[in-house]
């Protein structure tokens, strides 16, 4: 896991690892993507789930998506997501759509999980290539977002930039660590 975080940070120019972990941010692609025939979305991250009291959770790992409604922009992992949800584009919460490729670089957010009151480091990877998406859910939240001078927190940019295939498709939200 730390390998993965290292990979995020290896390209960070001028921003310390600490700064990256502190906050998260989504790309100001809002007005462009949202125009493309999609509905508007989440603004603030409002805690929506009460503390999880299902005892079963104490005995098993929580599968992705069982801790909230991953189709909604106020799902806790999406606190700094700017893009189409891959889970609504043929992919899943953490998987790109078949035919697309996960971005090799990503921006990160620090999101509070209301189920356990912990802050998590969430990697927002864009999926690159792929064949569009029909009426995708567009989410735009910018908790802790900063302009490109803090690149790792910047959500206005196409994170397919380091891939061979640079076409933006959708965005996944992957829990990669505790903040």
């Amino acid at each position: 896991m730390s390998d993965m975080i290292d990979r995020f940070l290896s390209w960070m120019d001028g921003a310390s690892e600490k700064a990256v972990r502190r906050t998260a941010m989504a790309v100001g692609r809002r007005n462009v993507l949202a125009t493309l025939g999609t509905a508007m979305m989440g603004t603030a991250l409002a805690p929506m789930l009460p503390f999880d009291r299902t005892f079963g959770k104490a005995f098993a790992q929580t599968p992705a998506g069982e801790d909230g409604d991953v189709t909604q922009c106020d799902y806790w992992r999406y606190c700094a997501l700017d893009g189409y949800l891959c889970s609504e584009c043929g992919g899943t919460l953490t998987e790109c759509t078949p035919g697309s490729v996960a971005s090799t670089v990503a921006w990160v957010g620090t999101c509070r999980n209301p189920n356990d009151d912990r802050d998590y480091l969430v990697s927002y990877n864009d999926c690159c290539g792929g064949g569009g998406c029909v009426n995708p859910t567009f989410c735009f939240t910018s908790q802790g977002e900063r302009p490109g001078y803090r690149m790792g927190l910047y959500n206005d940019i196409n994170w397919c930039m380091a891939n061979e295939t640079k076409g933006y498709h959708c965005t996944v939200a992957v829990v990669v660590g505790l903040a």
Binding site: A58, T97, G99, D117, R118, Y120, C133, V174, L178
Partner: protein
């Protein structure tokens, strides 16, 4: 059994929980890695072409049963598409402009593996392909699916033949005045409709390099009752067309020259005038030998592309209008239907850019029962195909 297991587990949990109810926090959410879903979920697929004239067109895939969106394949501008009979491969022909709104033109045929939504083949085409709104018969496959047949317009009409195995163009055949490609269901040949009211069959050699144009057969009058270019295959493998005026034309392409088998009107003798209208405006159900047709009331010169006010069910064996379906939605311009006894009818309506799914019970005692079972927004999606 699954239910029982759940009860057992919850009992076990309940028993073991009491001591765990301390202040200990739950373990953190497990850490994950980003991935790519390898393939779309299995099951029958509904295909829709979303055509763009200034950006990427896409061929979109939905679960044909519950309309779950599975993903899409990206291609060029003004694309046409066709899906192989087994539903495993999709083909598109489209145009790429080097500067999007201007610049050099590149026209290509692309093949995609549908399971992985991944391009598998690309063949550069002579830069003449017909750049048209979505129509089914501008890009077709030969019966053996070895060759793709591409409609060209410069505006002179011609057909480019692509060998899909070799991945190369084998010939470009002039087809003056003739339009759209109806491949025969056996053999290496296709038929076209021509502006002088004839139909004409073109026969290829095995290599797809040579084509013989057969004698033309008079079929229709392009002035007084032109045919829509959408065609279905009937019970006897004949091509079924409908005309602007509301007649069915059955044409056999079994021989070397087309043969007009029969014509009949299904729009006569009604209080109000009606006429067919739309694009992919008919769909044929084999088990019941019926043709679904999008029709609109009060037709006039120029209304032949108007969406439906009704969907009619035409009994082909008895050459008669069987039933007038009146779905709440108007504006259907494209239909597709499954083959079985109790067909599922898919319709795309331009009024709300939605695809509606209907269960059709043709055996109900008091007439057909049409039940809407699903709807999905597909802006601009149009040509429909369903593969099991």
């Amino acid at each position: 059994m699954k239910k029982l297991l759940a009860i057992l587990l919850s009992t076990t949990c309940a028993l073991s929980v009491a001591p765990a109810l301390s202040q200990e926090p739950p373990p953190p959410v497990p850490f994950e890695t980003v991935g790519v879903k390898e393939a779309i979920d299995p099951g029958p697929n509904l295909f829709l072409l979303q055509q763009s004239w200034d950006g990427a067109s896409t061929l979109q895939v939905f679960d044909a049963v519950d309309l779950t969106y599975k993903g899409g394949m990206g291609t060029g501008m003004m694309a046409q598409s066709v899906v192989s009979a087994d539903g495993l491969t999709a083909y598109t022909m489209s145009t790429y402009l080097s500067r999007l709104t201007y610049g050099d033109t590149l026209m290509v045929l692309q093949a995609f593996d549908i399971a992985t939504l991944t391009p598998t083949l690309e063949v550069v085409l002579p830069p003449k392909i017909a750049m048209v709104g979505p129509y089914e018969h501008l890009l077709q496959l030969s019966a053996d699916e070895r060759f793709a047949l591409v409609m060209n317009a410069t505006p002179a009409a011609s057909v480019t033949i692509v060998d899909l195995v070799a991945g190369e163009v084998t010939a470009e055949i002039p087809t003056p005045g003739c339009w759209e490609i109806y491949p025969a269901t056996t053999g290496l040949k296709w038929t076209m409709l021509c502006g002088d009211g004839t139909a004409r069959t073109f026969v290829m050699n095995d290599a797809g390099t040579e084509v013989v144009s057969q004698e033309a057969t008079p079929v229709f009058d392009a002035d007084t009752d032109p045919l829509f270019v959408h065609a279905e295959r009937g019970a006897g493998d004949e091509l079924i067309f409908v005309s602007y005026g509301g007649s069915v034309y059955s044409i056999s392409d079994a021989g070397t020259a087309p043969e007009l088998l029969s014509t009949f009107s299904f729009a006569d003798d009604l209080e109000l005038p009606y006429a067919p209208g739309g694009y992919q405006l008919t769909a044929y159900n084999e088990a019941n030998d019926v043709l679904f047709v999008t029709v609109h009331a009060d037709p006039y010169d120029g209304s032949h592309k108007d969406g439906s006010t009704e969907i009619w069910v035409v009994d082909l064996a008895n050459e008669a209008l069987l039933y007038r379906l009146q779905p709440e939605e108007h504006g259907f311009i494209s239909l597709e239907v499954t083959d079985g006894d109790r067909p599922v009818l898919y319709g795309f309506t331009e009024h709300s850019y939605t695809v509606h799914v209907f269960d059709i019970d043709l055996t109900a005692p008091f007439g057909i029962i049409m039940t809407e079972t699903g709807v999905v927004d597909v802006p601009g999606g149009q040509v429909l195909a369903v593969r099991e």
